[in-house]
Amino acid sequence: MTRVKEKVTGQEERGLARPIEIGGDGHAPSAHHKGKVFETRDLSVAYGGKPAVKDITFDVFKNNITALIGPSGCGKSTLIRCFNRMNDLIPSAEVSGQILYHGEDLYGPDVDPVQARKLIGMVFQKPNPFPKSIYENVAFGPKLLRLEDIDDRVRYALQRAALWDEVDNRLASNAFGMSGGQQQRLCIARCIAVDPDVILMDEPCSALDPISTGRIEDLMLDLKEEYSIVIVTHNMQQAARVSDMTAFLIVELDADEDNRWGRIVEYDDTETIFTTPTDKRTEDYVSGKVG
């Protein structure tokens, strides 16, 4: 697990306020070779007729960390919730377009969202452990799946989430007694315990302090060896630090400024987005010129 900090020349030239650290494996082959996990085609979501995101078309690659960045209100959360069909739970949500998951239509008529969510997990912005013991939190998923050797799975998940050493002697204690950062790692462990394929993270660090944030970012880089990760973040330095691919979304207004929705402006290797973006709007955003 290495973090390569590079200062790329030309950042100062473009008037960037501060040089941005770019993480990831500097000389990895192009992410594309590992295969696609999600392919979205003209994906649009509206709530009760009011559009939230429009015409989203991009691919998420295997064992990558894919970041969705953009100003607030651009529908990043709405978008990520499409990937595990959590938008199904909102009665007014209408999803159009297509998402392919390993080539299968995720919104196909035979697809059961409950089953899909066992493969595509999610970690939320505010840590939401159950009001139960640490063990019970992590064991919940495997018990639902009627798996065996639950104890081993709990230990594995907690180890993988870099939490085991801190809690192995108090697995029966209530999860609410942990700090915010620990709770979020518990939520990640809970997610890992069901053996997902993908982990979605909706601003996982925005409610945490910088040290906890750093630990979770390290964890993400470790986890991507096994899982594909999509992360929504409003902290673009974080996106630059951890992600392989970055999608930049903006807010569009209609003529009367009644409706606003999000749209992808640019999607590329993180390095490209942050150093040599194609679109001027991307450049303005990552250089801090616009909020």
Binding site: V114, G121, F124, L144
Partner: protein, 311 residues
């Protein structure tokens, strides 16, 4: 700030309050003010004292009147036309049988209805609103009308169970069911949506989420609601009158299909008698009943404080 058509009600009140202040400021003398204020506060204190004193006298009077019979015999003796030998035993057993079945009825139905309204129904749907309106209205129906409902439908009519414990239980259950539903809904609503989201995101079904996460967290609040409903049911007399219970019962009720009596009914029968000896019995019965209710409610409060989930 809330909209509301012109003029904004808050602004209107603020303006009228301000006007009243200014007008008063300009004409009254300070001493008059103080006197007025003291008189007013005294009147308020008097008001609340009347309520508290009323309660105190009620309780004190019952204890004083009943002290002659606040003995073990009150509980161990059964029905008798001789006041020296009469006691609450049959009535207590009857209350226990009746309330036992009330609990068996209101707990599952009340929780089920609350779960439906909070977790499954679309809140704007006609069904949900119809159910909610009904629950609100049922709370205002006079309790004796529930007795007539029991007479027409349960004791006679379609169910024709006769004047038995089960009839009384079902009638009282219908009366207090809204209490359970309302309390259970509050308890379920108090569980944050993030808990449900976390469970669903792990691939749990809606029912698995309810069964493993929502209900366990809501149990303390639901239990409190059930106990409050039971408290209400224990003290109700009127619904039982049309169910043939005012007749003289000499035996101990023995099962769901046996004839019944209940504590408030026994007290009522004693209170109706002009003789002083029965008056003492009635007062003693009242003290016992109130004591039972106070214990029950204290238990409910303790339960809530001990097990309530703080999010």
């Amino acid at each position: 700030m809330s909209g509301g058509g012109p003029p904004n009600p808050r602004a209107r009140l603020a303006v009228s309050g301000a006007r009243a202040m200014t007008a008063e400021r300009l004409d009254s003398r300070p001493r008059g003010d103080v006197v007025k204020g003291t008189v007013f506060a005294t009147l308020l204190f008097l008001a609340i004292s009347l309520a508290l004193v009323g309660l105190a006298i009620l309780l004190g009077d019952a204890i004083l009147d009943g002290r002659g019979r606040l003995d073990a015999g009150l509980i161990t003796e059964g029905s008798s036309s001789d006041p020296e030998k009469a006691g609450l035993r049959s009535a207590i057993i009857g209350t226990l049988w009746i309330i036992g079945f009330v609990i068996l009825l209101i707990a599952p139905i009340g929780i089920g209805a609350a779960l439906f309204l909070e977790e499954y129904a679309n809140k704007d749907s006609r069904l949900a609103r119809l159910v909610e309106v009904n629950i609100q209205n049922l709370a205002a129906v006079p309790s004796i009308i529930y007795g007539l409902l029991g007479l027409a439908f349960i004791a006679r009519g379609p169910l024709s169970l006769g004047f038995v414990v089960l009839t009384a239980s079902m009638t009282l259950a219908l009366l207090v069911l809204p209490i359970v539903i309302i309390a259970a809904r509050e308890a379920i609503r108090a569980v944050p949506p993030s808990i449900r989201a976390g469970s669903l995101a792990l691939g749990a079904t809606r029912w698995q989420t309810i069964r493993h996460q929502v209900l366990p967290a809501a149990i303390p609040g639901i239990a409190t609601g059930v106990i409050l409903a039971v408290s209400r049911a224990i003290g109700e007399t009127a619904p039982l009158i049309p169910l043939g219970a005012a007749t003289f019962v000499t035996f101990d009720p023995s099962g769901p299909m046996s004839g019944f009596t209940a504590m408030p009914l026994q007290i009522f029968n004693w209170a109706k008698q002009p003789s002083d000896d029965f008056r003492v019995l009635a007062a003693a019965g009242i003290v016992t009943l109130i004591l039972l209710l106070v214990l029950l409610n204290s238990f409910a409060i303790w339960l809530r404080n001990r097990y309530e989930q703080r999010w």
